[in-house]
Symmetry: C2
Subunit: 323 residues, 2 copies
């Protein structure tokens, strides 16, 4: 008998991560390589194939590849394309799935990284039996995958779930897409750092964070400062959690999830982000929802979430009963 | 051969509307009766049955009742209940579907009125071939039915789509549920009226609307004033459309609908509400969505939308291929 495996591929602006994963989430080999340095996508794909084959060669048992799942920025699930991704070298619309089909005759699925995270939560994480949940990824930006009615919400043209770019303040900070007051400009690892810098500018309070440049400051330093009782750090988490909690209350009124999962760098700050977020979410929920929507750390937090999320696409698409 | 019919029932705070409807949306008899005056729900149900039977008696052809669809405030689709509806006389949780099953042995479906409106749009209106759309009902309040991935989004406990109660301004007007800055306090027939009164208070500009009491003012008068060039009326439509357009842009980032339909009293104001709403929606959409999301008057606007929406539940639930 041969083991069924999915190939999970996460394409980031800097690194591409690949792994061979079974239905239980066990990784049978994985590796990273630089996404950069391949101005022609076909050259990148040849390298990708070489890397996949090198992983397969290391397997010491019989196996069957059931499919390839890909998480990538600006991926269009319906068309199998990567479209105008600002942080990749390939311009325009890349027919990514069609190109990989030249190399592999298995089912191939692609979606954006936040959607892959949601499917990862469903297959490998803590949303296993849920029909309605939201995953929020809090890294450089804010990504979201919305699962409702037992399916991922893709929308008319595969662009649903862009909650990082909801405008929360007409004249607010510009986010990564130039949206004024875009949510991710406040709620993300970068957003937290921007809030720290705003607070450092607005007062002359002492803070251990005054010794860091913008580029050297990161989440772990801010969490450590909060643990030390640094007022600026604590206030920044409170502000961030307030904005996130208020918006989560709105998201609940939209799709009424059973749970909302937080994943990514900012989520690793633990209680510092969860406590104020939950408090402000509850304060702003309609009475009907109060106390009934779980706010949880992603079950993928300590796993290789990006590869597993991509691989999970294969199992989700091929699960019994799927139309 | 007998004609297949659905019974559509819309339960409002004041009136209950009943009709017999075929799959094409033809009404074979309909009537209204007062919802009030039945402190015991069982008495109401007896009257409801009498009314249904009186409609059936008038039919002059062979027919088969395929099911009963009900639109009602605070209806829980999963449990078949009406729960704590503020504008009905029956307190607590009413097992409405179970009670009707004592009288009729056909499939019975219940959901809230805005969800029924969305299903009505799907079966009888202008969303016939759409898999992703939103219906916004603009009456006394703001209701919403969200259809995505080819299904209505009910959420974990049937309370998805409460977009009228999203808070758009922390210290803003209280809405019908006491939410500060709740969207429906600005965007609804009542919201428009409140805006008129705010504008009348904030300036001493002449306006034909200064001759109306709050209780006597309604949408048609405001639309007429706008047509006459009344500055207060025009400004109120602009403000209302601005707020709605901004929020629709956020809703698009959530579920990426192909179209958003407006229904109800305020939608009847036509260009006065559609023009500013579309303009502000487009201004606030992410570049990717611009020019691609249709803002349309509901195809149910001149039909008996409440009865048809309720009846449509039956056909939607029984369509071939439905799980």
């Amino acid at each position: 008998m041969s083991k069924e495996l999915a190939i999970g591929i996460d394409i980031g602006g800097t690194l591409t991560k690949i792994g061979l994963v079974d239905l239980d989430g066990t990784l049978f080999g994985h590796l990273d390589f630089s996404t950069k340095g391949y101005p022609q996508v076909d050259d990148y794909l040849l390298e990708l194939k070489r890397k996949i084959e090198s992983l397969k060669e290391q397997l010491t048992f019989n196996y069957e590849i059931k499919g390839i799942g890909i998480g990538a920025p600006n991926a269009n699930y319906f068309r199998g394309t990567i479209e105008h991704a600002a942080n990749l070298e390939w311009k325009g619309v890349i027919p990514f799935v069609d190109k990989i089909k030249n190399h592999y005759q298995v089912p191939i699925y692609i979606t954006n990284d936040a959607n892959a995270a949601a499917i990862g939560e469903l297959i490998y994480g803590d949303a296993k039996n849920m029909r309605d949940f939201i995953v929020i990824t809090l890294g450089t930006g804010l990504g979201s995958g919305i699962y409702a009615n037992g399916g991922l919400i893709y929308g008319f043209d595969s662009m649903a779930g862009e909650l990082g770019h909801i405008s929360i303040e007409k004249n607010g900070r510009k986010d990564g897409l130039g949206v004024s007051g875009g949510l991710e400009a406040y709620v993300s690892s970068t957003g937290l750092k921007r809030t720290i810098f705003e607070l450092l500018a607005n007062s002359v309070k002492e803070s251990e964070l005054r010794d860091y440049s913008y580029n050297s400051l990161h989440g772990e330093i801010i969490t450590k400062a909060a643990q030390d009782g640094d007022e600026i750090a604590c206030a920044a988490f409170e502000m961030t959690g307030k904005i996130l909690g208020e918006q989560l209350a709105n998201f609940v009124a939209f799709s009424h999830p059973e749970a909302i999962f937080l994943l990514g760098g900012l989520a690793k700050s633990g209680k510092w982000i969860f406590e104020p977020t939950l408090r402000h979410m509850e304060e702003n929920l309609l009475p009907y929802y109060r106390g009934k929507v779980k706010l949880l750390p992603s079950g993928m937090m300590d796993k290789n979430a990006a590869i597993l999320g991509a691989a999970a696409l294969v199992w989700e698409q091929q699960k019994p009963g799927k139309l």
